[in-house]
C-alpha cells in the first residue's frame, strides 16, 4: 500500500540507472508506427522488423518506478548484509556511517553519469513513509515499566532540554551573524531561531543505531531514547511556530504565549489520538480469532492511521504512534495467536530496518548536490554551539533532576547523553521544508555538515571515549572473587528488599492503573478465555524475557583443579570471566533492551524453550524441558540465533552451533547439573500455585504445551 504511493512519489524524480538501453515499445497489433514522444524513451529500437512479432523486447518504462524502488531497497539491504558479514567493522564504525558512505558513493556515481544532482530525499516521503515504521518499531518494543518509571526525567530532558538548546543555539547564532555582518547580515533573528529549532532535534534513528553497538545500561538507554522520541513534539511545534512567525508581519507577546500553548496542545493531542487508536486496535484484535492471518495487519493499519490522523490535525505524529503502540501492545499480544505475534514482531523489525537503511543511504546520496553554499563562520559556529549548548543543558538539568531521583544520573551517563545527541534525517527533512529565502542553501549545507559530523565523528568516537571513562574508574585493583560474590549477594539482597517495600511514590499510581486495567480494560479488550492470568504466570513470562536479556554465551572451558594449591592467574581470569558472565545482574542490567537486528523478547521461542533453568526453585524442571522440547526448536536463522541455541546447551562447557549434536550430549551433563532446590517448600508452593491456575487457558497450541508441562511436572 505504501509502496505504491512511494513509487508514485519517487517517480517524480527520474532516477535512471546508468547503462540501461532506452526502452523499446512493444509493436501494436495493427502495426501502427510508434508515436514520437518528447523524450526518447518511447521510440522503439531498430525498425527493420515492422511486420514480424518481436520475440524479445525490453520495456523499461512500463516498470520503471517500482523497479527503481526495488533496486534502492535491494541496494540498501545488500549493503546491510555486507556490513554484518565482516565481523569487526560494525564494532568500530556504526552502521549509520557505513550506510551514509554507501549513499555518498552511489550519489557520486549517479552524479558522474548523469551530470546532474541525484534525487534528494523528499521531505514528504520521509515523514509519511520512512519515519513511521521506525517509530512504530521503537514504540512497540519500548520497555514499558522502565519508561514510565523514568518518565519524569525523560520529559524533563525532552521538553526543557530542547527548549534550552533551541533558544540557546538560535540566539547565539544570531550573535554570530551579527558579528560576521558582511557575509551573514541578512539572516534575521527569526531565521536563526528557526534554524536552531530544527538543528537541536536529537534524532531517534541515529541515536538507536549508534547505541546498538554500545553496551549501555537500560536506564541510560531509555533516557536517551525516550528523550529523542518525545522531543519531536517540542521540535516540530517550535519549527512550525517560527515558520508561521516568519510569515506574520510582526510578532507580539500574545503570539509567543499562544505558541507555548500550542506545544502543550500538540503533545497532548498526539497522545490522545494515539490512545484512542490503540484502544480501538486492541478491541479489534479481540475479534480476530476466526481470521488470524490478518490480525497483524490491524496493528500496522491502526498505528499508521493514528500517525496520519495526527499529522492531519497538525499534532505530533510521533507521539501518537508511540502511544498507540504502547497502548495496544499488551492487549494485542494477549488476543492474537503466537504466530501472529511473531509475524507482527518480525514485520516491524523488517520494515524499520529497511526504512532506517534507506534513510541513511538517501542522506548520503542527497549530500551530492549542486546547491551547496558554504560559509566558514556559520558552519563552524553551528557545530560548536550544538555541542556546547547540549553539554551545558544536560549538566544543568541533571543537577536539578538528580535531587529528585532515586538513582542518580552519573557523570558517565551525562557524558553519554550529551555526546550521544546525534542529529539525523529529521533535521534534514525539516530544513528542506523551509520557505525559500536567500540563505536557505546555507542552512541546507550546514545541516548536512552537522548531521555528518555528529553521525561520523560522534558516532564513531563515543564508544572509545566511554571506555576511556570507564577505564579511569577502574584504575583500582580488580576485585577478588569473594568481593564479587559478596557484592553480588548484597545487590540481590537490596533488590529484594526494594521489591518488598515497593517503590515509594510511583507505586501508588502504578497500582491504581493496574487495578483499573484489571477491572475494566482487560475485561473489555481481551478475549474471554485468555483473561485468567495470575501474577505468577506473568512472572513466568517475565522470567523468560529476562532470560533473553541475560548473557547467552556458553561459558569457556575451565579444567577443575584440586582445592589445595593456590590458583594461577589464568585460572583466576577464567573464574572471573565465568562469574561476570553468570552471576545474575538483574538490577544493573547491561544489555540494551532494544535491538534493531534481533528480537530479544521473542515470545514464541521463549514459550517453546522453557528457559526456566536459571531459577533455583524450578531447577529440576530443566532436565525435563530441554529433552522434550528439542524437536520444537525451529532451525530459524536470524542474527544472534546461535546465541539462543547455545543457551540450550548450557550445561555443556563447549559452545555448539547446531542442535543436532548437542542432543545426544545434553542428557549426560544435565544430570550432573541437577541441583537440589534450596528451599523445597517454596518450589512446591510455586508449582502448586501455577498449575491450578493453568487448567483453564489450556486451549490454544503453545499454551497447551505450557500447561501440559507444568502439570506433568507437578505430578
Amino acid at each position: 500500500m505504501d509502496a505504491l504511493v512511494l513509487c508514485l512519489l519517487l517517480s517524480a524524480y527520474p532516477l535512471g540507472c546508468p547503462g540501461l538501453t532506452p526502452p523499446a515499445q512493444l509493436p501494436q497489433p495493427h502495426n501502427l508506427p510508434p508515436a514520437p514522444g518528447s523524450n526518447g524513451s518511447h521510440r522503439s529500437l531498430s525498425v527493420d522488423l515492422p511486420m514480424a512479432l518481436r520475440v524479445f523486447s525490453v520495456d523499461y518504462h512500463h516498470v520503471q518506478a517500482p523497479f527503481e524502488i526495488v533496486l534502492w531497497i535491494m541496494l540498501a539491504s545488500l549493503a546491510k548484509l555486507g556490513f554484518h558479514w565482516s565481523g569487526r567493522v560494525p564494532a568500530v564504525v556504526p552502521e549509520s556511517c557505513l550506510l551514509i558512505m554507501v549513499g555518498l558513493l552511489v550519489g557520486g556515481v549517479i552524479y558522474g553519469v548523469r551530470h546532474s544532482a541525484p534525487p534528494t530525499l523528499s521531505a514528504e516521503a520521509f515523514f509519511l513513509f520512512l519515519l513511521p515504521p521506525i517509530v512504530l518499531d521503537a514504540g512497540y518494543f519500548l520497555p514499558g515499566r522502565l519508561f514510565f518509571e523514568n518518565l519524569g526525567t525523560i520529559l524533563w530532558y525532552a521538553v526543557l532540554g530542547t527548549l534550552w538548546n533551541v533558544l540557546g543555539i538560535g540566539v547565539s547564532l544570531y550573535g554570530v551573524c551579527l558579528l560576521a555582518h558582511s557575509s551573514l547580515g541578512d539572516v534575521s533573528l527569526l531565521h536563526c531561531l528557526l534554524f536552531g529549532s530544527l538543528i537541536a532535534a536529537v534524532d531517534p534513528v541515529a541515536v538507536l543505531s549508534v547505541f546498538q553497538e554500545m553496551h549501555v545500561n537500560e536506564q541510560l538507554h531509555i533516557l536517551v531514547f525516550g528523550e529523542s522520541l518525545l522531543n519531536d513534539a517540542v521540535t516540530v511545534v517550535l519549527y512550525k511556530l517560527f515558520e508561521s512567525f516568519l510569515r506574520l508581519p510582526s510578532v507580539s507577546g500574545l503570539d509567543v504565549l499562544l505558541g507555548g500553548c500550542r506545544v502543550v496542545v500538540v503533545g497532548l493531542g498526539g497522545l490522545f489520538v494515539g490512545l484512542f487508536f490503540g484502544l480501538v486496535a486492541a478491541l479489534t484484535s479481540r475479534f480476530t480469532s476466526r481470521a488470524q492471518v490478518i490480525a497483524p495487519l490491524f496493528v500496522f493499519l491502526y498505528s499508521y492511521l493514528s500517525y496520519l490522523t495526527s499529522e492531519m490535525l497538525h499534532l505530533s505524529g510521533i507521539m501518537a504512534i508511540v502511544t498507540c503502540a504502547v497502548t495496544m501492545k499488551q492487549y494485542v499480544e494477549a488476543n492474537v495467536s503466537e504466530r501472529s505475534n511473531t509475524s507482527i514482531q518480525y514485520f516491524l523489525k523488517m520494515w524499520s530496518s529497511v526504512s532506517e537503511t534507506l534513510i541513511f543511504i538517501f542522506l548520503g546520496v542527497s549530500t551530492i548536490q549542486d546547491v551547496h553554499m558554504w560559509s566558514w563562520p556559520f558552519v563552524c559556529s553551528t557545530l560548536l554551539l550544538c555541542l556546547v549548548w547540549r553539554a551545558t543543558g544536560v549538566l544543568l538539568l541533571t543537577a536539578v533532576v538528580n535531587k529528585l531521583r532515586r538513582n542518580a544520573v552519573t557523570f558517565r551517563d551525562q557524558f553519554i547523553i550529551a555526546y550521544g545527541g546525534l542529529r539525523g534525517a529529521i533535521c534534514f527533512s525539516l530544513v528542506f521544508l523551509i520557505d525559500d529565502f536567500p540563505k536557505k542553501r546555507l542552512f541546507i549545507t550546514t545541516t548536512i555538515v552537522v548531521i555528518l559530523f555528529t553521525v561520523f565523528v560522534q558516532g564513531m568516537t563515543i564508544k572509545p571515549l566511554v571506555e576511556l571513562l570507564d577505564v579511569k574508574r577502574k584504575k583500582r585493583a580488580l576485585p577478588t572473587v569473594s568481593e564479587e560474590i559478596h557484592s553480588r549477594l548484597i545487590d540481590h539482597l537490596l533488590a529484594g528488599i526494594e521489591d518488598v517495600v515497593g517503590y515509594w511514590g510511583q507505586h501508588y499510581w502504578k497500582d491504581k492503573f493496574e487495578q483499573f486495567n484489571k477491572k475494566y480494560l482487560r475485561r473489555f479488550l481481551i478475549r474471554e478465555e485468555r483473561q485468567a492470568r495470575s501474577s505468577i504466570l506473568r512472572v513466568y513470562q517475565e522470567l523468560e524475557r529476562r532470560e533473553q536479556r541475560g548473557d547467552e554465551e556458553a561459558p569457556p572451558l575451565v579444567d577443575p583443579r584440586s582445592n589445595s594449591r593456590p590458583l594461577l592467574p589464568e585460572e583466576m581470569d577464567s573464574i572471573r570471566r565465568i562469574l561476570s558472565r553468570n552471576l545474575h545482574n538483574f538490577n544493573k542490567r547491561q544489555t540494551p533492551a532494544y535491538s534493531r537486528h534481533t528480537l530479544h523478547q521473542d515470545a514464541t521461542m521463549d514459550r517453546t524453550r522453557k528457559p526456566l533453568h536459571r531459577h533455583q526453585s524450578l531447577g529440576d524442571r530443566y532436565t525435563y524441558n530441554t529433552i522434550t522440547h528439542w524437536p520444537q526448536v525451529e532451525d530459524v536463522e536470524f542474527n544472534g540465533s546461535h546465541k539462543l541455541r547455545a543457551g540450550l546447551s548450557r550445561s555443556h562447557t563447549v559452545c555448539s552451533i547446531s542442535p543436532r549434536h548437542v542432543l545426544q550430549d545434553t542428557s549426560a551433563p544435565v544430570s550432573t547439573a541437577q541441583t537440589a532446590p534450596a528451599d523445597p517448600r517454596s518450589s512446591s508452593a510455586t508449582a502448586d500455585q501455577v498449575s491450578p491456575q493453568h487448567q483453564t487457558p489450556g486451549g490454544r497450541g503453545p499454551k497447551k504445551q505450557l500447561s501440559f508441562d507444568l502439570e506433568s511436572e507437578k505430578k
Binding site: 559478596h486 529484594g496 515497593g502 522470567l543 575451565v558 531447577g619 551433563p669 547439573a673 508452593a685
Partner: protein, 188 residues
C-alpha cells in the same frame, strides 16, 4: 489511602516504632500501607505466601532466603513490628546519626548490622560460620545451572581461601566483614 492506614495504626505504636527503628512518621505510614496491601488475608500479619506473591521477589535468586529473614525463628507469620524491624536494617544512614555515639547499642542500620544481615543469608544453620557447603548453595542459587559442580567448587574454595585467616576452612563473621564490597553497599 493515607488516612485509612493511620487510623488502623495508633499513634503510640508509630512512636514506638520510630524510636526502635528510626524511620520517620511518613515513612512508617507509607510502609504500613505497603504492609496492608501485601496482606491479602487482612489479618494483620504476613505469611510466606504473601511475600511470594511479589513478582520480582520470585525471580530474585535469593528471594526465598530474603523472605525467610523476615520471619523470626520457627514462626510463620510476621506482624508489622517485625516487618519494620527487619526493614530498619536498610534505612539509609543519616548524616546526623554518624556523629552520634550516645546510644549504647548500635542502631539497627549500622554497617555492621547490615553485613550481619547479609551474613545470615549465607549462614542457614546459624552457627556463625559460612561453611563450604553453605557457600556452594548460595553460589549455585546466584549462578544458575550454567556452571558445573567442579567449577563452582573451585570458585567456592577460592573464596574461602581469600577470606579465611584462621584456617578453619570456613568464613566467620569477622572475616566476612573484612572483605570490602565492590562499589560499596548502597546506602539504601
Amino acid at each position: 489511602m493515607g488516612s485509612r492506614a493511620s487510623t488502623l495504626l495508633r499513634e503510640e505504636e508509630i512512636e514506638e516504632i520510630k524510636k526502635e527503628t528510626g524511620f520517620s512518621h511518613s515513612q512508617i505510614t507509607r510502609l504500613y500501607s505497603r504492609f496492608t496491601s501485601l496482606d491479602k488475608g487482612e489479618n494483620g500479619t504476613l505469611s510466606r505466601e504473601d511475600f511470594q506473591r511479589i513478582p520480582e521477589l520470585a525471580i530474585n535468586p535469593l528471594g526465598d532466603r530474603i523472605i525467610n529473614a523476615f520471619f523470626p525463628e520457627g514462626e510463620d507469620q510476621v506482624n508489622f513490628r517485625g516487618f519494620m524491624r527487619t526493614l530498619a536494617h536498610f534505612r539509609p544512614i543519616e548524616d546526623n546519626e554518624k556523629n552520634k555515639n550516645s546510644s549504647a547499642s548500635e542502631p539497627l542500620n549500622s554497617r555492621t548490622n547490615k553485613l550481619l544481615f547479609a551474613f545470615r543469608l549465607y549462614d542457614l544453620d546459624r552457627d556463625d560460620k559460612i561453611s563450604r557447603d553453605e557457600l556452594l548453595q548460595v553460589l549455585r542459587m546466584m549462578v544458575g545451572v550454567n556452571i558445573s559442580d567442579e567449577q563452582l567448587g573451585s570458585i567456592a574454595d577460592r573464596t574461602i581461601q581469600e577470606a579465611d585467616t584462621n584456617g578453619d576452612n570456613s568464613i566467620s563473621f569477622n572475616e566476612f566483614i573484612k572483605v570490602p564490597p565492590v562499589d560499596g553497599e548502597q546506602d539504601y
